[in-house]
Symmetry: C2
Subunit: 175 residues, 2 copies
C-alpha cells in the first residue's frame, strides 16, 4: 500500500518556520539536497494545508503544475473547490488520504504545518516521518507537531548527521 | 568557567513527561545508563524548578542529600527559603546561575521542565544541551522548550543512535 510520509526541516525546539513563516535559518547543503531529492523520488502525490499552499503559491510553486507527474491536493474547509491553481481543493483530509491509500500509485507526501499532520496522525494514516533537525532553538514559530489525543509509537529507520550540524532522523510509524 | 547543561529524555515531539508527569514511555538501556552516568560525572551542582523538585521528592530523591558531593538548588518564588529538604531555595534563578558560574566548581546541571531553562536560555546562561530523543510522539505533556523571545544558535557536538531507537543529541550553545 502507498506510504504517507510527513517531514521537513525543523529547529531543535520543533518549529518548521518562524512565526511569520520565515525559513531564513535553514542550512542548505549538498547532503540536505541529496536527502530531499531522495525523499521526493518515491512520491507522486502531495497534500498540503491551506496555509502551506498560500506560502508555496507566493513563492511560485503552488501546486503540482510545476512538478510533472505530481498531483497536489490542498485540504481546506474554507476554500471552495476548484479555487486554486495547480491543485485540487478537498475539505476532508482523512477521507482523501484513506481513498488515495487504496488506489495504486507511489507515496504520498504531506507538506507543511502540523495542523494537517495532526488529524492524519490521529486517524493512524501516517506511515513515516522524517525531520532534518537544525542546530538552533528558534523560540517560537510554526510547530511541526500540534497537541494530539493519542500516542504514536515510532521505529528509528535512520539517523544521519550532516557535516553542517543538522541531523536527519527518519522513523517508521508502528501501526 | 563552569558549564551549565540542560537536557533529559524527550519524545520526538519535545515532551519530557506526560501531562501528569508520567515517564512510563522512557526506554531504559545500558547505552542510556552509560550516557546518563557520563553526563553526571562532571556535575557537582543541580538546579531545578519547584515542580521538578516536588516530583523528585515524591520519588524519594528530592535533593543533594542523596547524591554525595552534589549541591542542589530549587528555584521558586513561591517556596520560602529553607522550606525543602536537601536543597536550598532560591527565588532568582538567573542571579543564582550568574553567581555560581563565577565560583570555582564542576558543571551545573539543570533538571526538569523547560520553565527554568527558558529564563536561563533568554539570559544566555546555558552552555550545553543534550537530549535522548525517544521514538515516540506523546501528543501532549511537559515541554522541554517553552516559547522564548530570542533565538539560540547551537553547534552539534555528538549524535549517537542507540540500539533501541533512541538518539542522543548533544549541542554546544554558541554564545
Amino acid at each position: 500500500m502507498r506510504k504517507v510520509t510527513y517531514g521537513g526541516a525543523t529547529s531543535l525546539d520543533g518549529f518548521l518556520a518562524r512565526p511569520d513563516g520565515g525559513v531564513d535559518w535553514l542550512m542548505w547543503s549538498d547532503e540536505a539536497a541529496a536527502a530531499t531529492m531522495a525523499s521526493w523520488e518515491g512520491v507522486d502525490t502531495v497534500i498540503m494545508g491551506r496555509k502551506t499552499y498560500e506560502v508555496a503559491a507566493r513563492q511560485g510553486s503552488g501546486g503540482g503544475g510545476e512538478f510533472p507527474g505530481v498531483t497536489s491536493y490542498v485540504c481546506s474547509r474554507a476554500l471552495p473547490p476548484g479555487s486554486v491553481q495547480g491543485a485540487t481543493v478537498v475539505a476532508d483530509a482523512v477521507g482523501l488520504v484513506k481513498r488515495l491509500k487504496g488506489e495504486p500509485g507511489k507515496d504520498i507526501g504531506l507538506m507543511g504545518g502540523g495542523d494537517l499532520a495532526r488529524s492524519l496522525f490521529e486517524a493512524g494514516l501516517i506511515d513515516e516521518v522524517g525531520f532534518n533537525v537544525h542546530p538552533v532553538l528558534l523560540g517560537a514559530g510554526v510547530p511541526a507537531f500540534h497537541p494530539m489525543t493519542r500516542q504514536t509509537d515510532l521505529e528509528l529507520k535512520e539517523c544521519r548527521p550532516f557535516k553542517n550540524g543538522c541531523v536527519l532522523l527518519t522513523y517508521r510509524v508502528k501501526h
